[in-house]
């Protein structure tokens, strides 16, 4: 809708313009947002680098170079070596892989949990809503970082997917509240009422009408949660509560590097730089998508 027709529309202003209904036009809109394109290109490059980079590295992941402890970047060790003589480049690439996978999985899981809780609470309201929102509030009051840290002994010895589930279990609340709010307003939309009055069941209405109409919002939310999960993971790893060695993530590398950031900067800056780049790219995509998909925030550019 053009500005002029928007301005001229004499219908009451509080009816939000319809969410554009075509994936193709969405794709056009999305790809017309430079931020999204830049973000996606960076993410694509990082993914390529993370999975293909190690193939070119002359060193194995857990191989030690006994002739080069803490050596700065060189032709042989592109990102230098660490205290135990391992190749920082290879470790960083593996860590990057892990961080990307953990971030994505945790974000998707988070959003799924949030969408289900929020949509049911918002659609049924009443007791369902009270119970679900009360649980949400309880989770909000619990310091998520602390709970993850307490559960660390459980994590010890388990694989990263467990970690992903825990991350998701502690990140869904804010999104769930948002989804609930959206559901309550969507529920009053006339097409939902129409479906109800033609006899469509509640579960079907949620699946067919409510969730699809927030899909853009949920997609944006996934991107936000990707960066959230990556950052949370970093923090946990810093205290040693994250993924356990020999597994590495960017977070655990940063944790290790930060203790010697002054003396051996290469152990800190490469992984940190990549992490910032990754989160930045994800945020760019998220922000751009929000502008492109969410009609409320659509602005003139």
């Amino acid at each position: 809708m053009s500005i002029a027709t928007e301005r001229e529309a004499q219908a009451p202003d509080d009816i939000p313009p319809a969410i554009t209904g075509r994936w193709s036009s969405l794709a056009k809109e999305v790809l017309g947002t430079p931020r999204v394109v830049v973000g996606l290109v960076i993410i694509g490059a990082l993914v390529l680098m993370a999975w293909i980079g190690p193939l070119f590295s002359p060193w194995e992941f857990d191989e030690r170079d006994f002739f080069a402890f803490r050596s700065p970047p060189s032709a042989e060790h592109w990102f230098g070596t660490n205290t135990t003589g391992r190749d920082v480049f290879h470790m960083t690439m593996v860590g990057l892989q892990r961080s990307i996978v953990i971030g994505l999985c945790a974000a998707v899981a988070t959003t799924v949990v949030a969408a289900i809780v929020g949509a049911f609470a918002g659609y049924y309201l009443g007791p369902t809503d009270r119970v679900l929102m009360w649980i949400t509030d309880l989770f909000l009051v619990l310091p998520q970082f602390l709970i993850l840290a307490i559960l660390y002994p459980v994590l010890r010895g388990s694989e990263w997917p467990v970690f992903v589930i825990l991350l998701a279990g502690l990140m869904w609340m804010v999104t769930a509240k948002m989804v609930r709010g959206m559901t309550i307003s969507l529920k009053e939309r006339e097409y939902v009422l129409a479906a109800r009055y033609m006899g469509v069941s509640s579960g079907r209405i949620i699946l067919r009408h409510i969730l699809p109409n927030m899909s853009s919002l949920l997609i944006v939310d996934i991107t936000i949660n990707v960066s959230g999960a990556i950052i949370l993971e970093t923090a946990l790893s810093y205290f040693g509560f994250g993924v356990q060695p020999p597994d590495v993530t960017l977070g655990s590398l940063i944790a290790e590097g930060s203790r010697q950031a002054l003396a051996f900067p290469w152990t800190f800056w490469f992984c940190t730089g990549l992490l910032i780049l990754l989160v930045l790219a994800v945020n760019l995509v998220g922000d751009g998508l929000r502008d492109a998909l969410d009609p409320h925030s659509r602005r003139r550019s």
Binding site: T5, A11, E190, A194, M198, P212
Partner: protein, 710 residues
């Protein structure tokens, strides 16, 4: 400051044409640059007009005609990315190109504006008194805070805020829409402006409130002597109010002149169509409305030639060659932009000659007397009370809203019952209660003899088939993520319609409502408002219901589009023998479509009856006031009529007046003797036949008597 020089208190004389215009707009063009590769939008394309001292000029047009943009340009309130060219002179001084500071000195002082939506027009966090006082101080910095506030109270009193001394401390959300609009007017006249631009000032308001606001505007004009530029889509509002009127279409003026000339000697087919498509409150016989085919052009890529040509029944080769200029036709000052204007004048054509008039038959049941027809819907003493909570944050129950408080009516086969009333009267709640099929708090709802709330799931589904709904907003009543095919097929799928016949049925339905088979593959966003409403109707018809409940189905549409949908509903009823429950606030539309009508006020039906009788001889004072408040698109009639202007706002539905609920605003109550008033105060009047001779007309008033408000 030059603005003060032209102040002309008390000599708000009719324009004599000799003095310089207060506001002179020449060749105004406004373009919004396109975003992300989309083309530029030229919202106003070369508009010229002048406004003389004390004059009231109306600008009429549908959505997207550019009427608001042109006035925002005069106020310097367009966003900075808009490209404006041409000239806007205020007392001969050029306004375009002035910087923000210089423009701010003019705004509010020399030229003021009243906006459409009083809900969002006032800052929610300041009291109304402060907001008016701010307008005073903006141009009189020497005014102290207290002095400005005192002046604000004066202004609020002037625009009719009762007890302004105390109520100036209220926040906007504590005011009703009408009161907020009064505040907006108070702000506009705070500095005695020379020009007041009113942009759809009454569109968001109910008719009785609209009548009040129009009165306030007249007062405001008397007080300030300002010239008023009245922008509206409502041909009735301008008819009785303005001296001259200009019709806009696709960013240009297409007809302009003294109001009588434009209304009675219309020379531009678009204006004709506009006038012909309005359902008339004062028309007895049911003639179909005159819809204008198609929809307004997009302003991005205008083809050469007359922008109305694609929709115009009179279009000839020449129309597509070049855009016709606005030229004089007939009387001086009357100008129209149509190559065939001379022909129209010579032949004396009217809308009915120019536009094809559709033919609509009668429903098959029309021959059967009402009593012998099946009752499709029966509502008996329906009650719906809901708790009133205050505060978004600290919610608490502060009372009970008597939204629907004992409503009874029935609808027979092939009949349309119009349920009318102003916002807050409970008509929508009634409708939702009927649709929910839940057991009402009290009373009963029976759809084809099946009582709601006493039936199992299977039976419920069967009732759902028989009763379908069409909603108001064609934008939000269709799921934007579904194709039209899916939308129309949804009820069929839900009720297990044979899969192999699904596609054929959907296409049949689309054709039935005047759409094409290929529309099935599109998304709602690709349709215009009228087309979307047709999709909604097709969906409602899918299961061959006996009763369709319509919630303001045409109120979100422009008049020219509205006419087509109203005709379609009429036609479907005749062909399929449907019954309608038609809920609306627009009494003109209801008169056109309904067989019987029920008027609601504060949760109760105050009058019900056969449509022609009720409109011609309403007996309840509220019905009389409602009908009287609606302006007719007929300047002469409008000038002759005297409107009943109700006092005040709708009482709080959580605390309705004792006895007769209407008595606090009743014009009849006001002239009753003290003794007679006791009955109104103490006894609630029941709904029954009150006047001899009216077979099917009942009113809830102790002192009901016939009147002719039209």
């Amino acid at each position: 400051m030059t603005a003060t020089t032209a102040h002309a208190h008390g000599d708000a004389a009719r324009p004599d044409g000799t003095d310089t215009p207060v506001l002179q707009v020449t060749d105004l063009e406004v373009t919004f640059p396109g975003t992300r590769g989309s083309p530029d939008v030229t919202a106003v394309r070369g508009v010229s007009y002048e406004l003389r001292r004390g004059e009231i000029l109306g600008i009429v047009g549908e959505s997207g005609s550019g009427k608001s943009v042109s006035s925002l340009a005069a106020m310097g309130l367009l966003p900075d990315y808009a490209r404006v060219s041409g000239s806007i002179r205020l007392h001969g001084e050029e306004l375009l190109g002035l910087d923000d500071r210089a423009m701010a000195a003019k705004r509010g002082r020399a030229i003021a504006m009243v906006f459409q939506d009083p809900l969002s027009g006032l800052t929610p966090v300041y009291t109304v008194g402060d907001q008016v006082a701010e307008a005073v101080r903006a141009h009189n910095p020497h005014f102290g805070k207290a002095a400005a506030l005192a002046r604000a109270v004066e202004l609020l009193t002037l625009v009719g805020i009762p007890d302004a001394e105390r109520r100036h401390r209220s926040f906007p959300h504590e005011f009703s829409g009408g009161m907020r609009q009064r505040v907006m007017i108070a702000i506009a006249i705070a500095n005695d402006p020379d020009v007041i631009i009113c942009d759809e000032p009454t569109t968001a308001l109910d008719v009785t409130i609209q009548a009040q606001i129009l009165e306030v505007l007249k007062t405001a004009q008397r007080e300030t002597g300002a010239a008023i530029l009245m922008i509206t889509h409502d041909l009735g509002v301008v008819a009785g109010l303005v001296d001259r009127v200009q019709v806009m279409y696709a960013g240009r003026l297409v007809e302009t002149g003294p109001v009588d000339d434009v209304y009675y000697r219309t020379r531009m087919p678009y204006t004709m169509g506009l006038l012909g498509s309005v359902p008339r409150l004062d028309q007895d016989d049911k003639t179909p409305l005159i819809p204008i085919a198609g929809s307004p052009p997009s302003l991005t890529d205008m083809p050469p030639g007359c922008p109305f040509a694609p929709r115009c029944p009179l279009a000839v080769e020449a129309c597509t060659q070049a855009e016709p200029a606005l030229e004089q036709v007939g009387a001086p000052g009357h100008r129209a932009a149509c190559v065939r204007a001379g022909e129209i004048q010579a032949n004396g054509w009217t809308a009915r000659d120019v536009y094809p008039v559709p033919e609509i038959g009668d429903p098959p049941q029309a021959a059967v007397p009402r009593e012998d027809r099946t009752t499709v819907l029966e509502v008996e003493n329906l009650v719906k009370h809901h708790p009133l909570t205050r505060g978004a944050l600290f919610k608490r129950r502060v009372g009970t809203v008597y939204a629907v408080d004992g409503v009874s009516f029935d609808i027979r086969e092939g009949e349309t019952l119009g349920l009318v009333g102003e916002s807050g009267c409970g008509k929508t709640t009634t409708l939702l209660e009927i649709l929910s099929l839940d057991r009402p708090q009290s009373g009963a709802v029976r759809v084809l003899g099946t009582e709601s709330g006493r039936i199992g799931g299977r039976e419920r589904m069967r009732v759902r088939r028989d009763m379908q709904v069409v909603f108001q907003d064609p934008m939000s009543s269709l799921d934007p993520r579904m194709r039209v095919f899916e939308i129309v097929a949804e009820p069929l799928r839900t009720h297990a319609y044979p899969k192999d016949r699904l596609q054929a049925r959907v296409i049949e339905l689309l054709r039935l409502v005047g759409l094409e088979a290929e529309h099935a593959a599109r998304y709602p966003a690709e349709f215009s408002g009228g087309q979307r409403q047709r999709v909604g109707i097709a969906r409602a018809l899918a299961l061959e219901p006996r009763l369709i409940v319509l919630d303001e189905p045409v109120s979100a549409l422009d008049v020219s589009i509205q006419a087509g949908v109203v005709n379609l509903l009429d036609d479907l009823k005749a062909r399929l023998g449907l019954a309608y429950l038609f809920v609306a606030h627009d009494l003109s539309v209801v008169r056109h479509i309904a067989d019987r009508v029920a008027v609601m006020y504060l949760g109760k039906i105050v009058e019900i009856g056969e449509v022609a009788n009720l409109y011609r001889h309403p007996t309840h004072p509220y019905t009389q006031a409602l009908l009287s408040a609606i302006p007719l698109p007929d300047p002469e009639k409008e000038r002759r009529r005297s409107h009943i202007v109700l006092e005040g706002d709708l009482p709080n539905p959580a605390d309705p007046p004792s006895g007769c609920r209407f008595r606090t605003r009743c014009q009849k109550f006001a002239v009753l003797g003290e003794e007679e008033r006791t009955a109104c105060r103490e006894r609630e009047p029941e709904l029954r036949r009150r006047v001899e001779g009216a077979a099917d007309q009942a009113a809830a008033c102790h002192y009901a008597e016939r009147q002719e408000p039209l």
